[in-house]
């Protein structure tokens, strides 16, 4: 009941003019990012961080969250109209969405995607309200040993599920953690790995690193494979027929459950729930042969799961302070930039902020539906922006974002360096997601581990005395071992790279 009271107060705050404006701007910008091929939600959220530098914390987080789920929806438009996923999770939508567009049913496909996303997003947010507060209360009982174990668990799951090559993922995790240690030692205050460079005393900035790895890195890949697209669109008739509604309703329900549940598990990227929802729909269908030839339930299931996942993945972030994907890690970085640490203490210390942000998810999903149903033709026109302008515009945002946080040109060099590194690593198919998550979790992991060992006088046996910490450490390690020993059994859950 207490949660409901907070939620109502949060809804009131989320509906204030300023917060409504931030949610609206976030939804518009997010959809724009999602529409533009080559820029995913992680890159989009990262490059638009500078717009929020001087907003109040609540407004900044509302806007960045809206950018995130706006981008998740925006990817659908390119998938349906030009058979190019705007972001990785929309790959599955291409299968039937583009076929529908070729049959002159693009409007129906986009409408059912918008409605499915809306239902998935709203239901997942209701489930988030139900699950997040009790989970945060439970996490308040955690000591440093449990927090360390929880972060190790999150990283292990990301490593296990994030790439074809687990050794590469483990190596990237170690490097991400090492990178996070540059700067002042959080416990003793001694400088580490700074080599006398003044700018490194504050550590390597998370924002320039993610802007480089995702923003510049993805842009370099897009520049290499520049393509022109032929738009398949008849958007005059967009309202689905009675038969299409009938076919889609079950798919939307099932997609919501799959998306939300998989959103709770760190390391399961957005593409996994969309793929699983699509496969399930094909299995339960009386006419599975229609899939791949323009089955509307294929679009409905994938898009619903996609948005339910986006909202579900907020649970581990808000309740436990553990990001489950690179985009959520970027959002966590935005919290930290605003002086907030997501996790159980945030529910206790800033309940009004947390509940306003959660309530804004409802508002954002309604805004997305309003924006996407009647304005789909407008979004489609954005696909005609020439690459020269798109690329230059994105780079301007990246430069401002990297510079603006600390007014440091050094950070722009860091962004460029990581941009080139991200491009090379993607070309080699090295998993980047574990490094990003490790980079954001590193300082907290180190602090938790060292505090735990200080309490125990340097003995690791403390983990054996704390059953929850032991279980949190054991379960993911067992899963990781199982993935190494029997990789085929986990093939459906694993992917080449998250988002």
């Amino acid at each position: 009941m207490e949660s409901l009271g907070y939620l109502m107060a949060g809804l009131g705050a989320a509906l204030s003019f300023n917060n409504l404006l931030f949610a609206f701007a976030g939804c518009v910008l997010g959809t724009l990012i999602g529409v533009l091929p080559g820029l995913g939600p992680a890159a989009g959220t990262a490059i638009l961080i500078p717009l929020t530098f001087n907003l109040d914390a609540t407004g900044a987080i509302i806007m960045l969250c809206a950018i995130y789920y706006g981008a998740m929806y925006g990817g659908t438009i390119t998938s349906v109209l030009i058979n190019v996923p705007g972001e990785a999770a929309s790959v599955v939508t291409c299968i039937d969405g583009y076929q529908m567009a070729k049959q002159g049913r693009a409007g129906s496909a986009l409408a059912i995607a918008a409605i499915g996303s809306f239902v998935g997003g709203i239901v997942a947010t209701i489930l988030l309200v139900v699950v997040a507060a009790p989970l945060a209360s439970l996490a308040l009982k955690f000591g440093p040993a449990e927090f360390f174990a929880l972060m190790v668990a999150g990283l292990c799951l990301v490593v296990g599920l994030a790439g074809r090559n687990i050794l590469a993922a483990l190596l990237m995790t170690a490097l991400g953690l090492l990178l996070s240690l540059i700067g002042m030692d959080p416990v003793r205050g001694a400088p580490r790995f700074t080599f006398g460079v003044e700018e490194l005393y504050d550590g390597i900035g998370f924002v320039p690193v993610v802007m480089g790895l995702f923003g510049v890195g993805e842009l370099l890949l897009a520049a290499e494979a520049r393509q022109t697209h032929l738009i398949q669109a008849d958007l005059k008739k967009w309202y689905p027929t009675r038969d299409e509604w009938r076919r889609s309703s079950g798919a939307i329900g099932r997609g919501t459950v799959i998306g939300f549940v998989l959103g709770l598990i760190p390391g399961v990227g957005a593409i996994v729930p969309t793929f699983m929802a699509y496969v399930l729909e094909k299995r339960v269908s009386k006419n599975p042969e229609r899939f791949g030839k323009g089955a509307i339930e294929g679009v409905a299931s994938a898009e619903t799961a996609n948005n339910a996942y986006a909202n579900g993945s907020m649970v581990p972030l808000l309740a436990l302070g553990v990001p489950s994907s690179p985009t959520i890690a970027v959002l966590m970085g935005a919290f930290i930039v605003n002086g907030l640490t997501p996790g159980p203490f945030l529910f206790q210390e800033k309940p009004e902020l947390v509940w306003t942000v959660i309530a804004s998810f409802f508002v954002g999903n309604v805004l997305l539906l309003i924006l996407n149903l009647p304005l789909v033709g407008l979004w489609a026109r954005l696909l005609k922006i020439p690459f020269a302008y798109l690329c230059t515009g994105v780079l301007i945002f990246c430069i401002i974002g990297a510079y603006g946080l600390k007014q440091s040109l050094f950070d722009v060099w860091v962004m460029l360096g990581f941009g080139v590194l991200g491009y090379v690593l993607r070309k080699l198919d090295f998993p980047i997601a574990p490094a990003i998550l490790a980079l954001i979790l590193g300082p907290m992991m180190e602090k938790s581990l060292r505090t735990t060992l200080e309490i125990s006088g340097g003995s690791f046996a403390i983990f054996l005395d704390r059953p929850l910490a032991l279980a949190l450490l054991a379960v993911p390690l067992i899963v990781l071992a199982a993935i190494v020993v029997r990789p085929r059994a986990f093939a459906n859950l694993r992917q080449t790279d998250i988002e």
Partner: protein, 156 residues
């Protein structure tokens, strides 16, 4: 895995291993433990050690993989390579310029050069975009969004 891809993986992993070895050395210069418990070098030492172990295993794993003989190149050539290099060069040039002439002029040059290099040939379109993306963006970010950007030489 193609021969070029394998070479790329080996070079990348060896570089990462070298970084980890360097980090071990740097960690040893810091104290690993002190009277209160783990010292500043503790976490980085063990992480680097794990990093070396993973890198070593990865090198062995990649080395043992069968090589597929084909002409597949890892990095682009020709026009694609030009586009990638021009973007990297333009951002580097803009960063250097920003320190001397401020955001507006640096961006004016950056936008004009990059849009031209990426295929735009209409001078009026380049000019309008360059002015909007430099002076316009500077105005919006500094006046409306309160984000500080490097000022030009004429700023007081």
């Amino acid at each position: 895995m193609s021969r070029n891809a394998r070479r790329g993986w080996l070079v990348a992993t060896a570089t990462m291993m070298a970084i980890c070895v360097f980090a071990i050395w740097q960690s040893l210069l810091l104290s690993l433990t002190d009277r209160l418990g783990p010292g500043p070098g503790f976490f980085s030492f063990w992480l680097s050690l794990l990093g070396v172990l993973f890198a070593g295993l990865l090198i062995l794993d990649v080395w043992r993989k069968p090589v597929i003989e084909n002409d597949e190149t890892l990095f682009p050539r020709g026009e694609s390579a030009f586009r990638v290099l021009i973007i990297i060069g333009a951002v580097a040039g803009a960063t250097l310029l920003m320190g001397w002439v401020g955001f507006e002029l640096a961006m004016l040059v950056f936008i004009a050069v990059l849009t031209f290099a990426l295929g735009e040939r209409r001078w009026y379109a380049i000019g309008l975009f360059a002015i909007a993306g430099s002076f316009g963006v500077y105005y919006v970010f500094t006046r409306w969004l309160d984000v500080l950007l490097p000022p030009g030489p004429w700023a007081a």
